[in-house]
């Protein structure tokens, strides 16, 4: 037989006996695995004599796992067994990392607890191929599986199905103190495959330390998208643990209004150090937004939008949208400026697409623009949205210069701050 399966629970805590002498070496208290391969590969055992014994390392090549019940046999233990200095960069302690711990099931986007591990023995190699998160794994650990299966089988002729998660969908979690944190960080990339909203849900359910570790392992853009989906309180707690550089990078990725919301909650000292790490232009914009008092248009607006001059053609306008769309929150409304840069009209994307490319923008734009003053109170903004049924409105200063845009969503959020937290899982 070239390969066979084994459950981790059938290996851990097993007695280890030296083959030559029949001497008991101890029992298996943990297992070390290399996580750089396609599946984690078991490289050795930690063998302890009693509960408090930190244990000694025995490489996997020395041992033979019997097919029947009974102790594990070890060869050359005299020379091979010895203290293990510390884990290498690519190694983890399997029991400590997985057994009874939470992992993220990437395919199901949820947190689950590991009841058992499913191992594949192929010649001299032992691979970790599945995580058992099902009820049968729980019963196996408790030692009741056989009895349970017998009763159920006798009653309803139905076998309990195993609930396994394939290794490629398993994201282990680590806190800053756990052994092999380094090795786990390498594999954190799996989290980035998830939708930021799901990721935010999972982060929220995690313990404080695990959340921090997982979040720090995300790339900047995923981190920013996730922050947007987290309740304010959790976001602030996470941002608080970051270095100013990383914090600045994340804030730079966020839409202006979200960034301002978060910034305004930071301490003055922290805010200033973040400003030092941000691009000059961004800081000026942010400071401008921060100036406006809470609950006025100025504090809610987003300063990333697209404007065009009144004298260009529809085709040129579309070209401008193509080059600038990335930084804008919405491209559905394009605001038209006069020679003196004051807001004179608005044109929708729909109008631009339908128009001939050589048609002047001034011909198709609406000239009666509904606008909001920077000092307009949130209540008035809400009324304007209701009255005119737009999903986006421009914000202008006293000289009719456009300063930003406000979406219905922003207004709704400001109107009833609780809504956001409740939607985003603040139970």
């Amino acid at each position: 037989m070239s390969f066979s399966f084994l459950f981790f629970s059938q290996l851990i805590h097993k007695k280890v006996i030296e083959r030559e002498s029949g001497r008991t070496l101890g029992y298996i208290s943990d297992v070390i695995a290399d996580v750089t391969k396609i599946y984690p590969n078991i490289t050795g055992l930690i063998i302890s004599r009693h509960w408090f014994d930190p244990g000694q390392f025995l490489p996997i090549r020395c041992i033979e796992i019997p097919e029947t019940k009974g102790p594990v046999l070890a060869d050359n233990a005299q020379t091979e067994m010895g203290p293990k200095a510390s884990l290498a960069k690519h190694e983890i302690l399997v029991r400590e990392t997985f057994l009874d711990k939470q992992i993220v099931d990437i395919s199901g986007s949820r947190l689950v607890r590991v009841n058992d591990l499913h191992l594949l023995i192929e010649k001299a190699n032992i691979w970790i191929v599945h995580m058992d998160v099902g009820f049968s794994g729980l019963l196996r650990r408790l030692g009741w599986l056989a009895l349970y299966q017998k009763i159920v089988h006798w009653l309803v002729d139905y076998d309990l199905e195993d609930k396994f998660i394939q290794w490629k969908f398993v994201q282990p979690l680590a806190d800053s103190n756990s052994a092999g944190t380094l090795a786990l960080k390498i594999s954190y990339s799996k989290l980035s495959n998830m939708h930021p909203a799901d990721l935010a849900d999972i982060l929220e359910d995690l313990g404080t330390d695990e959340r921090e570790t997982a979040f720090k392992a995300l790339d900047i853009s995923t981190a920013a998208q996730t922050i947007e989906k987290l309740p304010m309180k959790t976001s602030l707690q996470l941002l608080d643990t970051l270095s100013n550089d990383i914090l600045a990078k994340i804030l730079d990725e966020l839409p202006m209004d979200e960034a301002v919301d978060l910034l305004s909650e930071l301490s003055r000292k922290k805010m200033n150090s973040v400003f030092r790490a941000l691009p000059k232009k961004k800081v000026i914009d942010l400071k401008e937004l921060l100036k406006h008092s809470k609950n006025t248009a100025g504090s809610l607006m987003n300063t990333e939008f697209i404007t065009i001059k009144f004298n260009i053609l529809a085709g040129q306008a579309l070209d401008k949208i193509r080059t600038e769309h990335e930084k804008a929150e919405s491209i559905y409304y394009i605001y038209v400026l006069s020679e003196q840069n004051s807001l004179v009209g608005v044109v929708s994307l729909r109008q631009l697409i339908i128009a001939q490319p050589d048609q002047p923008v001034a011909d198709i734009m609406a000239t009666k623009v509904i606008k909001i003053g920077v000092d307009t109170h949130i209540e008035k903004i809400g009324q304007l949205f209701l009255k005119y049924n737009f999903h986006m409105l421009p914000v202008v200063d006293s000289h009719h210069k456009i300063k930003g845009i406000i979406s219905v969503r922003d207004a709704l959020e400001a109107f009833s701050p609780d809504i956001k937290d409740e939607v985003e899982g603040g139970a």
């Binding site: 607890r113 103190n177 404080t208 707690q237 409740e422 603040g426």
Partner: protein, 422 residues
Amino acid sequence: MAAAWLEKFKQRPWFIKMALFFSIMGPGIITANVDNDAGGITTYSAAGAHFGYALLWSLIPITVALILIQEMCNRMGIVTGKGLSSLIREKFGVKFTFYLMTLVLLTNLGNIVAEFAGVAAAAELFGVSKFISVPLAAMLVWYMVVKGTYKSVEKIFLVACIFYITYLVTGFMVKPNWAHIGREFVTPQIKFKSGFLIMLIGVVGTTIAPWMQFYQQASVAEKEINIKDYAYSKADTVIGSISVNLIAFFIIIVCGTVLFSSHHGGVIIETAADAAKSLAPLAGNYAAWLFAFGLLNASLFAASILPLSTAYSVCESFGWEIGVNKRFTEAPQFYTLYTCLILFGAGLILLPRIPLIQIMLLSQVINGLVLPFVLVAMLIIINDKKIMGDHTNSRLNNILAIAFTAAISLLSLILAIVSIRG
């Protein structure tokens, strides 16, 4: 650490402090007040009726122990962001957790039955049949938690806490001899009669129960309080623990003043409803009504929290989806367990001739047996640097906690033995 918090506390203007405190308060005060549930009120009433003010002094050490224990859970919840059952599973493995949680489930179920019994009894004092009050209460409880959000539920619970004032009002209405009470309160006394000792153990056991540790830690973890604001959270725990014992103090005073007489040992109280009934002819209908209203409020309040807390901690330890903000298909185990606990607890009360007193006794025995395991597990976890980082117990904290744990374990064990032998 503590000094740093204090410094920070002093720097902030008072109104910001108040606002912060109100946003953080909840878990500690709610947990402590649920503790004054039907079982608690019964025990305190009986303590007053049977022994007068003689047991008042015990509330002082109980308060200290309660603060100490709940503060540890609180700290674990804030630092780790995880519930107690989760930490126990990760630290002690599946076997210990499974059997511990089974026992917690059983004792909590007993408590839930007691709460619905309290609802039934209190409603009957107002002339409402239990066949109306209990199903209504069960539906109310189920609906509130399943359809509400954590924030709204917490607000309702905080309001429920205020209604405990009825006991304070009753306390002043019966015009006790305050000088006498003051003397009894500060002079510890132990009578080596079995009845007295059992009552003492009963008061301790009902005030410090395992579900409280699970509940408070879970709700603190859910609230995601920043460790920087720990001082406020600690205040929440301390205020809660003191207020629960203040209510107990007044219940004992009311029953000790009205129902206790040194000549023939006082009126025999077996349920909290007995106490309310006996109060009417001696202290007037208002006192009895206030007492009954307090019982109704307390039972309803605890009946909403206990099933929730139980389902929460069991599901958390087994890694099943949790949360009132999830749909049934997302968290089937959670909702099934939660609903079954309520159905079973309320349904049992409606059955004819159930051995209620025996169920209570059994629940109390399991309670007493589980508590030492929970406390020891807590002590091991909170001293683990890997889990708690810089927030492990201080030496003084450890000494006090170990002493109290030993004392409570011993008392619980005695109670269990005594209860089994009848």
